[in-house]
Symmetry: C2
Subunit: 231 residues, 2 copies
């Protein structure tokens, strides 16, 4: 309808510094203005202006604590939008890593990471595939949990709290694997459960996660995922 509104929203994503902020914030956590400025390589004053625009545009939510300004993605819908844009903008063949450090960090991210509030990477794909094969998730005619899938969550004491318009299950296209993994309320609940129950732990200060020994056996027991599939 209103082209100017669409253009104004897109303009918020159309700056390299702001895009860097958004990609960093895709880890689902709240960052301070200074952290984002360092991450994107711009002066604090520049970052401050960018954050002002993103908050005013409803892309970010902010929370002031003392002399710190914490910001996070405003809601799952925005995260979804950033994911989609990022997925479309990725070149088909990713650039080769330039250093050993970069390669190992990239490998860790490819093994397992969070994508806003759910699990992605080979870990996320393995879970999604296992749930599909076991009849807990239906991907052939769309993307939805089955009744058995609901029971599976229930049996593990993971409650799916429906609120707002957010779908219970949604496919999120994985950057590295180029296949969908489980997102939505169920994806978020599962990720929280995995972290709470010690199935995996965050490594470094980044989005990467590592599956623990207990996680491997739990994933094998509940979904039949072979530990080798995660490496």
């Amino acid at each position: 309808m209103a082209a100017s509104d669409l253009a104004a929203l897109a303009a918020l994503f159309a700056d390299e510094s702001r895009a860097a902020f958004l990609l960093a914030l895709l880890d689902g956590r709240a960052w301070t203005a200074g952290e984002l400025a360092r991450q994107a390589g711009v002066a604090p004053s520049t970052a401050s202006e960018h954050l002002g625009k993103l908050v005013a545009g409803g892309v970010l939510a902010e929370e002031r604590q003392g002399r710190h300004r914490y910001v996070r993605l405003a809601d799952p819908g925005i995260a979804h939008l950033v994911e989609d844009l990022a997925a479309r903008s990725q070149p088909e063949v990713p650039a080769a890593p330039r250093s050993l450090r970069e390669a190992s960090a990239g490998e860790a991210m490819a093994r397992g990471r969070t994508c806003y509030d759910h699990l992605a990477g080979r870990l996320g794909i393995a879970i999604t595939e296992a749930m599909t094969v076991r009849g807990l998730l239906r991907q052939d005619t769309g993307f939805a949990l089955t009744d058995r899938g609901l029971t599976w969550f229930d049996d593990r004491g993971i409650t799916l709290v429906r609120k707002g318009r957010r779908p219970v299950a949604r496919g999120c296209l994985d950057w590295t694997e180029r296949r969908p993994h489980l997102a939505g309320i169920a994806g978020a609940a599962l990720c929280r459960h995995a972290l709470d129950a010690g199935w995996c732990v965050r490594i470094g200060s980044e989005r990467a996660v590592k599956v623990t020994a207990e996680g491997e056996s739990a994933l094998y027991a509940s979904l039949g995922i072979a530990p080798a599939a995660l490496r």
Copy 2:
């Protein structure tokens, strides 16, 4: 990963003229450069430059025929992206129409329209709701056709051709109704069937469609949709 790629893609949407083009192209058809220029109110030379960028960025596909340059959205994924951006950028309460002509055109669009290649507006919502109530579509745990839904399509001779990564069923958020309607392969096939079978016809040169008398009885017979629900 690459913030500059994301920003570059978003920049293609971040101009009012280009956004107007994309919204016009959401009707799923191919437009000529001149038509788009008039629609957006810019000089032909300006439109030509914009189209060059959109095509180079993979957002539009072009087809040259004689002295005409036809362009359309490159693929359903782009249409999805435009829809999502448009839905997010809409103000919560749409502006009141300024003229009677505008009001009646808006009302026609609200009743029924195409959204890229599927049906939207009250018509799209009514179909989606009816399919959900009848157990053909599952929305409570995601968005997917059920086995009975597959049979329903089969019974009507509508074949769902799976190709590429496009999902069979997907929810597309409706601008006017703010509820999801059926998109994806099934949504496109149903829309094509509805137009082919004369259930509805395009009105004007716009995206609006009108349900015919045969359409009303067909929708009632096959999905139990009362004609009153479409007005």
